[in-house]
């Protein structure tokens, strides 16, 4: 037995954990068919950990949904498999490739895979009849996300209407939806990037190895370091360099940049982040950089 709270004070990390667990249980109790959108990144892994805690010792009362872009890092997929196995969870994979073949998504050669995920995702939600989808979005990531409710209502087209959000008071979440609509649920709304890392550190959570500094061949493009691979090759004037790098987010490997780093464990990452001068999306997500409203536009269309 542990007795750590003699003064009845809960640290901020414990408060965040309690809030997220509350959200998981609320959704599991009130929605007919929830699903957890799992990207394999650190945020969705932290979600999994919180869900594990929320329902222990029962198994997760919902499956995981992964949108397979065909461009995921191998390290991310293997960590996913190890989590799925340990929790005995059910995994539903929605492939962008299949969605293109079935005509749900158009591949015009210009749209990034992250954007095409929208179609594959909405299609999978509709086909499976999911009524609530947990996402790992945090409000500190981006200005439009900073505005989003924990329960974020999506219409029949999966769209978010930022001007018509439902009031959300206290911890009384309103899960009412009509047929065909669904709710996005963001249990990590109030966590910051630093909180996520502190939690990973404290809980000794298994995450993909590419989050830690390692040597990699990279090329600098548009101010981002991109990893050399099948899709990324040096263009004229660019030089390939070997650098110690780590990823701050793990999306589609053609769009996700890495940062130079010597941090090989969570404590070192926490130190680096505490003094970082650039947001994680600003540094490493090509798809958010096109316009000031890039994220808002994608969210309206039904992006995570």
């Amino acid at each position: 037995m542990t007795n750590t709270h003699v003064d009845y004070q809960l640290s901020q990390l414990d408060q965040l954990e309690a809030e997220s667990i509350h959200i998981f249980r609320e959704v599991a109790a009130e929605f007919e068919k929830p699903v957890l959108m799992f990207s394999g990144g650190k945020d969705s892994i932290v979600m999994l950990r919180l869900a594990e805690k929320a329902f222990f010792p029962a198994k997760l009362p919902f499956p995981l949904l992964q949108v397979d872009t065909g461009l995921d890092f191998d390290e991310v997929l293997s960590t996913r498999d190890s989590w799925v196995e340990r929790l005995g969870a059910r995994l539903v994979v929605a492939s962008v490739e299949d969605a293109i073949k079935a005509g749900h998504v158009v591949d015009d050669g210009k749209t990034s895979r992250n954007r095409q995920q929208i179609g594959a995702l909405l299609n999978a939600i509709e086909e499976n009849g999911f009524t609530a989808a947990f996402g790992g979005g945090r409000r500190d990531e981006e200005k439009a996300r900073a505005k989003e409710r924990v329960y974020s209502h999506r219409d029949d087209f999966g769209q978010w209407d930022p001007k018509m959000q439902r009031p959300e008071l206290w911890s009384l979440y309103n899960g009412r939806i009509h047929a065909g609509e669904h709710m996005r649920i963001f249990p990590l709304s109030n966590w910051t990037e630093l909180d996520i890392w502190h939690y990973i550190h404290r809980e000794q959570i298994e995450i993909p190895s590419i989050y830690f500094a390692h040597e990699r061949e990279v090329v600098e493009r548009d101010g981002m370091l991109l990893s050399i691979g099948p899709e990324i090759q040096p263009k004229g004037g660019e030089t390939v360099e070997k650098k110690m790098v780590r990823f701050r987010t793990v999306g589609d490997r053609t769009q996700t940049g890495c940062v130079e780093s010597v941090a090989t464990d969570t404590a070192a990452i926490i130190d680096e982040i505490a003094i970082a001068r650039v947001t994680e999306r600003g540094a490493t997500r090509g798809d958010d950089r096109f316009s000031e409203a890039a994220m808002e536009d994608r969210k309206k269309e039904g992006y995570f």
């Binding site: 809960l10 009031p167 404590a267 600003g282």
Partner: protein, 433 residues
């Protein structure tokens, strides 16, 4: 290949151990709320370079003389176009001792429901007034809402002092005006600070322009205001949220009641009563995930085990036999109405209270509160959008509630329009019978 973190240095636990303050801004349109939040973030070095660059270049391209710090929180396209806040934005920053969750709310009356959203969970309300204008109807409305929502700490920030020549008289006049108004409200803790959000005076750094002011800077106050004692550790309230029954070979007989503690302290050996059935039992174990813990208190999310096989399901409440709310279907509450179609007597709505859903009928609208004069208009008969009034409800299921003044969790509810599914009302219970 996957790897597990290895180091467990003590220094990295600091962030995890610090405490949390949630605060919400309030006040009229253009009083400078978003600018102030931008200033707080900037001066506490919580703004990243790319964020600041984006805001600087937008300000320049719009032809502004200075960087519009409100752009740091006004994240929606229409907000940037109109230069106003429409919906609440949540921002985060931390100092060595505290993490802050800020809800930057809109001042425009049309978006009052979004202000209420941001303020409902706040420990502290930060009301801004424009020094040139003094208190407006909207600043009064927001002060009333904060007091109804029982936000326990209030700061009145008298902003744009740069535009009134840092006048002590102006500061004192607004200070007096507000204190007079506030005597009729429930505001246990008030601090009045003269600031310039635009230039940063008395926000993080003490101003040389206000030598007559000896109180704390805003940041100093936010860092030191004492919030721990705002919680109820006496009256045990555990709304059952979810029953965990693994139905696996290993945990065949496991039956745990999961939920978030709303009040009091729960521990092994406590005699408890389950409401509304009234059955009694004893707590046999309190668990957090896979670990047995000695005590659970607000706002922990835990799992409770009982010694006896009593019938417990979602929506029930675990309390103490000698200290339990009386199940009641007649509710007297203050309601903040949040939709265009007015609230009328005999109207039927869905109601959510703790983990309990039911239906409610409006029996009577006793009065509407005039936010300027605090006059109670008993002839009102209905509540229009953004109006506040005292209402009697009859519910289909008994609510296990306390007065909101005693417990913000068991004393609050939301009303939902059954046709649209939209949240249309926020309720704060006065009494129940």
């Amino acid at each position: 290949m996957a790897s597990t973190p290895q180091t467990t240095d003590a220094h990295t636990t600091a962030q995890g151990e610090m405490d949390l303050l949630r605060f919400a801004t309030a006040g009229s349109v253009d009083d400078g709320k978003s600018t102030l939040i931008g200033r707080l973030l900037l001066d506490s070095k919580s703004i990243f370079e790319d964020q600041l660059e984006a805001v600087e270049s937008t300000s320049q391209s719009k032809g502004y003389d200075y960087t519009d710090l409100a752009l740091l929180t006004d994240g929606l396209r229409s907000e940037r176009e109109q230069g106003i806040t429409i919906d609440v934005a949540y921002r985060y920053f931390a100092t060595p001792t505290r993490k802050f969750i800020i809800a930057d709310t809109p001042g425009h009356i049309q978006y009052t429901r979004n202000m209420v959203t941001g303020a409902s969970t706040a420990d502290l309300g930060l009301v801004l007034v424009d020094a040139r204008q003094g208190l407006t109807e909207q600043s009064r409305r927001h002060a009333v809402l904060l007091s109804l929502l029982r936000v326990p700490h209030l700061v009145l920030a008298i902003n744009k002092m740069d535009l009134v020549d840092w006048s002590q008289e102006v500061y004192e006049k607004i200070h007096r005006e507000f204190t007079t108004f506030a005597t009729k409200l429930n505001i246990p803790d008030l601090e009045v600070i003269p600031i310039s959000a635009l230039q940063g005076d008395n926000v993080v750094n003490r101003s040389e322009n206000t030598p007559w002011y000896s109180g704390p800077t805003l940041m100093h106050h936010l860092e030191h205001v004492h919030v721990a004692s705002d919680r109820d550790l006496v009256d045990t309230r555990f709304p059952v949220q979810y029953v965990i029954r693994p139905k696996s070979d290993q945990y065949h007989d496991f039956r745990g009641y999961a939920g978030q503690v709303a009040g009091g302290v729960l521990k092994k050996g406590d005699e408890v009563v389950v409401l509304p059935s009234g059955m009694t039992s004893t707590i046999s174990k309190v668990e957090l995930f896979d670990t047995e813990i000695a005590e659970a208190f607000p706002p922990m999310s835990v799992t409770i085990h009982l010694e006896d096989d009593v019938d417990v399901s979602r929506g029930d409440m675990i309390a103490r036999p000698k200290n339990a709310p009386k199940p009641s279907q007649d509710i007297d509450a203050m309601i903040c109405w949040m939709t265009t179609e007015p609230l009328k007597p005999r109207q039927k709505l869905a109601i959510k209270h703790t983990t309990r859903m039911g239906r409610a009928m409006v029996k009577d609208i006793q009065y509407r509160l005039d936010v300027n004069s605090l006059h109670r208009d008993q002839e009102a008969g209905e509540l229009a959008l953004n109006e506040i009034g005292r209402v009697q409800l009859r519910t289909t299921v008994p609510l296990l509630c306390d007065p909101y003044s005693k417990n913000r969790t068991t004393g609050s509810f939301i009303l939902i329009d059954e046709a649209t599914g939209v949240t249309v009302g926020a309720g704060m219970i006065n009494s129940a019978s």
